[in-house]
Structures are given as structure tokens and as C-alpha cells.
């Protein structure tokens, strides 16, 4: 036993000498910003509280929107029918680069959006998140709740140039068009090694005292088949630059692609745009679903071939509707 103790002490000393180099053991490895891009510094809550130019009533509304964003589960059964919060994917309060910061929605919309093939407002963009990622029903357009969400987004965009599209840190930083050959078993082993400790062996997430701590990555509690995160490249990019929590950039690109494919080869609630036929739905929205495994056969099973909408007692919220301006 004495020997072991000596070894431990020795290990401690050796490590201490390494520390002198001051290299972090777990560096924050995030992509560099391309030159010439607009770099935004989104305000903090402290900035809000200290800003006397903002009317107290507006502060209240912004904080309400922030509270909805951070604890979206308080709206469970009203607007949200799965276990997600906005901050589950838009980490760091929606302010953080490469974590799909939400303020660009306030400065780049209204704009044409490929996903629904029409010009979208900020409200409509937020409604999209509620309809797909939260497997829910958005707050009514023009409602107090929607206004609070909009106020939070616009305040985060404070001082950012309107309609500037050349934005640093937007989205999750696309991993590129070239992806490795995707292999379910390879993705599973990456998952078990890096993700299961928090999200569970079956992607079920973890709860404590009735609250979601680690969100489910598939199944009824997760995002539905219409969510942007079902696209393999979106999930791979998110994972690469945000996961495991606190260790951005620690997985290789290949690992991120494989684990994204593994997660998105599991079942989840139906796409709200479902026509009643999964293959038809895939074809109809192929510009989106060409990036997902929806309506394809994985491990002998046709994914998305079901009527399951999770805890949500309907398929499609009324807010999802086309616009023509005619």
C-alpha cells in the first residue's frame, strides 16, 4: 500500500510540473470567425438591469421572454409537448456563438425561408421552433407570450446591423458538405462512450424531482421529425461545437457525423407536415428531408412510418400555414 501511495504522490508531482505549461486539459475548441464577418456581443441580463434607457415595463417583458426561453418546460402542455427547452439547443441563453444564437433572427427577418418556401417574420420563425423542435403549438401571433419572446430576441440583437447577413458565429458552424460513410454501429459506439452518461443508454435523457436535466435525444420526449436537428448535418454541427457539455470541439468531425446519424436513426414524434404517408411526405419536403433519415429504411425499419405525435394530442398546429401575398 505504501508503494501505491508513493506512486500517487509521484503522479501528483509530475502533473504539477505539467501544469506550469498552463495548457488546459480540456480546451474550448471552436471554429475561428471568417474575416470580415460582423461579430456581435449580445447583452447580458446585467446590461439589461443597468440600462436606464429601457422602460421598466419593457425590462419586465424582455425578462418574461428570457424566462420562457430558459425554462420552456413551464409551458408544458400549453405550447410544449416534449422535454425540451429553447436553451437545450440554443445554449448559453441564446447568446452564444456557434450555439445557434437567436438574435440573428431579429436582424435578418423578414426573409424568404427555404423550409416553408415563403417570406417569414420573426414571430413565424419562433413558431417554427415551437412546432418542430418543441413538438408543440406556438403562442398565438400577436399574443403577450409571443411578444415577450420577440422582445427577448430583439433585445439580444441590440446594436447589431439590420439585414447584415455576414454574421460571425451564426448557427452551429456547418461541418461541410463532405461527410464520411455513415455507419449505425460506429455511431452507437461514439454515443455510448461520450453521450450515454448524461442522455442515457436509450437516449431517454434524465429527470430529477420531476424536472428535465438532460433532454431525451429520441422518443416521445424529443424533437419531432420536422425539426432542423433531424438533419444529420445540423445535429453533427451542433454536437461538434457544443457537446459533450463544456467540451466543444472535443469530438472529431467523423465522430460527430456518426453519432448524429445514430441519434437521427431512432424514432421520434411524427413530422407535423405528415400527409398520412411517410414516403410521400419525404418526397413533398425533400429539400429538407434529403438531409434526414425520415422515410428511409434503417436496420430494416422504415423510419417515421407511424401516427405517433408523442404527448401532443394533434398533428399540426394552425400556425403552420403558407403565405402567398396575392
Amino acid at each position: 500500500m505504501k508503494l501505491k501511495y508513493t506512486i500517487s504522490l509521484l503522479a501528483g508531482l509530475m502533473v504539477a510540473s505539467q501544469l506550469a505549461l498552463a495548457e488546459p486539459e480540456v480546451p474550448v475548441n471552436l471554429p475561428e470567425f471568417k474575416e470580415g464577418r460582423y461579430v456581435h456581443s449580445a447583452p447580458t441580463v446585467e446590461d439589461l438591469m443597468n440600462d436606464d434607457s429601457i422602460h421598466p415595463e419593457l425590462k419586465k417583458v424582455i425578462l418574461k421572454g428570457r424566462d420562457m426561453f430558459m425554462n420552456t418546460q413551464q409551458l408544458r402542455g400549453k405550447y410544449v409537448f416534449n422535454d425540451m427547452n429553447c436553451k437545450s439547443c440554443h445554449m448559453g441563453e441564446g447568446r452564444m456563438n456557434w450555439s445557434a444564437p437567436v438574435w440573428p433572427a431579429a436582424t435578418t427577418l423578414p426573409d424568404f425561408r427555404g423550409k416553408n418556401q415563403h417570406v417569414n417574420s420573426l414571430e413565424e420563425r419562433i413558431a417554427g421552433c415551437f412546432s418542430f423542435s418543441m413538438n408543440g403549438k406556438p403562442p398565438e401571433y400577436g399574443s403577450d407570450d409571443m411578444l415577450a419572446m420577440v422582445a427577448y430576441h430583439k433585445w439580444l440583437a441590440k446594436d447589431a446591423p439590420m439585414y447584415e447577413k455576414n454574421i460571425a458565429g451564426r448557427g452551429f458552424s456547418h461541418l461541410g458538405r463532405e461527410k464520411p460513410e455513415l455507419d449505425f454501429e460506429r455511431g452507437k459506439s461514439v454515443y455510448m462512450e461520450n453521450c450515454a452518461v448524461c442522455h442515457g443508454n436509450n437516449g431517454q435523457g434524465q429527470r430529477k424531482d420531476g424536472q428535465v436535466v438532460f433532454p431525451p435525444l429520441w422518443g416521445d420526449g424529443s424533437y419531432n421529425w420536422g425539426a432542423g436537428m433531424t438533419r444529420i448535418f445540423t445535429a453533427a454541427s451542433f454536437i461538434k461545437n457544443n457537446m459533450p457539455l463544456g467540451k466543444p470541439g472535443s469530438l472529431t468531425d467523423e465522430e460527430a457525423w456518426q453519432v448524429a446519424n445514430f441519434i437521427n436513426s431512432q424514432e421520434r414524434p411524427q413530422d407535423p407536415r405528415y400527409t398520412g404517408d411517410v414516403k410521400e411526405t419525404r418526397e413533398k419536403f425533400l429539400n429538407f428531408h434529403k438531409h434526414t433519415n425520415y422515410g428511409t429504411v434503417v436496420n430494416g425499419k422504415l423510419l417515421g412510418d407511424h401516427d405517433n405525435t408523442g404527448d401532443k394530442p394533434f398533428l399540426k398546429p394552425d400556425a403552420l400555414r403558407p403565405r402567398t401575398f396575392e
Binding site: M1, K4, Y5, I7, S8, L9, L10, A11, G12, M14, V15, A16, Q18, L19, P24, E25, V26, V28, M91, G92, E93, R95, M96, N194, V197, C198, Q206, K208, D209, Q211, V213, F214, P244, L245, G246, K247, P248
Partner: protein, 218 residues
């Protein structure tokens, strides 16, 4: 260093395998062991108290009510060198895997004592601690403690222990242990990543705040 790490790792793997083979912990046997010690050192209760509440001044953690699997893993980590403590190691190095399971079961089943520690720190320090615990410091890539340690930082499952109501001196020493590589038993280096980004001021603040919080849900 590489060989040494491999040795330590091999030890950890062996120890984990041993624990899988051990029978489920028996809290009654654990109670006896806690009073007797491992034969070559101080008995557990000498430092952790008869009620498992630990001691802030000396930096001895509360054990009562912590998750059994978590507790067993920590004892194994001392014995295989993943956790380095000249105080703790000599006192448990003769316990075998079954005895460690028994001790873990004993402490896990204990009612959580009121260990809330009021330290004489300012309101500003507590406010900084509260912010780190529940909102984090994302500009320095420090997620909030609660994102893994759960609601009220009262712990989640067998991996993320309750840190609310844990003694500030112990929390401080552990965060520093991660920074200085004296503690290496966190899965995927999830805690190392955060600990090494924390400043001394932040460590003091978050330790004081967590210590002031209740370990049990109201």
C-alpha cells in the same frame, strides 16, 4: 507519465470489474465498518461524524444521503489513485470491494442532516456563486452547475452528486483538486473541463453559495 496513466487506468478498470462482482451493499455491515475502520487507519465516523454530516472546518464532506454507486466509486478512486488524498487513502486502502459497497450502502441510506453552512461571505460573493450555480458564466464557457447536478444542485443519478448542502471547504478543495490533477475520476473529463476554467474568486463564491443551500428539496 503515459505508462503511469495506463497503470492507473488498468487499476480503475480492475476495480470497477471487481465492484460489479461484489454483492449488493449491506448497510448494517457498512455501519460496523464505519465504526471500526479498515484496520490501519481512522474509522470513517471519526471525520465524517456518526451522522455522516462531515465537517466544514476540516474540509471533510457530508456523505449521508449521497448516491450509493457514486460513493462506492469515490472510495475505489482513492484506492486506485484517481483521487489523491493523503488523509483519505491510508484510511480505506484495506477495504475490499464488498466492504466498499457496504459502506456506500450505509451512508446512502442515512437521512440527510442539516449541513447548510453559513459562511461569513458578503452578499456579493453569494450572488456571484448563485449565478455560477444556476446560470453559469458562458462567456468563459462555464455552464451552470445545475445543468448536470440538477434542480437545486441536489444531484442527478449515480454520476452527478448532490453539491447543494455540501461543505464549502470540501467543494473548494475538490475544484482545486481537479485543477491540479489530484482528482481524475470524472466521466469524460466533464468536471475537469469546467473546474480548470474557474477563477479562484469563482471557486470561493460557488463553494460558499452551494454550502448555504439545502441538500433536500423543500
Amino acid at each position: 507519465m503515459t505508462t503511469l496513466s495506463h497503470l492507473i487506468l488498468a487499476g480503475a478498470v480492475t476495480a470497477l470489474a471487481t465492484v460489479a462482482n461484489a454483492n449488493e451493499g449491506d448497510p448494517e455491515r457498512g455501519a460496523q465498518l464505519a465504526a471500526q475502520g479498515d484496520g490501519s487507519g481512522a474509522p470513517c465516523l471519526a471525520c465524517h461524524g456518526a451522522d455522516g454530516s462531515g465537517n466544514n472546518a476540516a474540509g471533510f464532506p457530508r456523505l449521508a444521503g449521497l448516491d450509493a454507486t457514486y460513493l462506492a466509486r469515490q472510495m475505489l478512486a482513492y484506492n486506485n489513485g484517481e483521487r489523491v488524498s493523503p488523509v483519505m487513502q491510508p484510511n480505506i486502502d484495506n477495504f475490499d470491494a464488498q466492504q466498499i459497497q457496504d459502506l456506500a450502502a450505509y451512508y446512502a441510506a442515512m437521512p440527510v442532516p442539516a449541513t447548510t453552512t453559513s459562511t461569513s461571505v458578503s452578499e456579493e460573493v453569494l450572488a456571484l456563486g448563485e449565478k455560477l450555480a444556476n446560470q453559469g458564466d458562458w462567456d468563459n464557457y462555464i455552464p451552470p452547475c445545475s445543468s448536470c447536478h440538477g434542480p437545486g444542485n441536489r444531484g442527478v443519478g449515480e454520476t452527478f452528486p448532490a453539491i447543494a448542502g455540501q461543505h464549502p471547504n470540501y467543494i473548494r478543495s475538490q475544484l482545486n483538486a481537479w485543477k491540479s490533477n489530484q482528482r481524475n475520476n470524472d466521466p469524460n473529463q466533464l468536471m475537469t473541463a469546467v473546474a480548470e476554467r474557474l477563477s479562484e474568486e469563482q471557486i470561493n463564491a460557488v463553494a460558499a453559495y452551494l454550502g448555504s443551500q439545502s441538500a433536500t428539496a423543500e
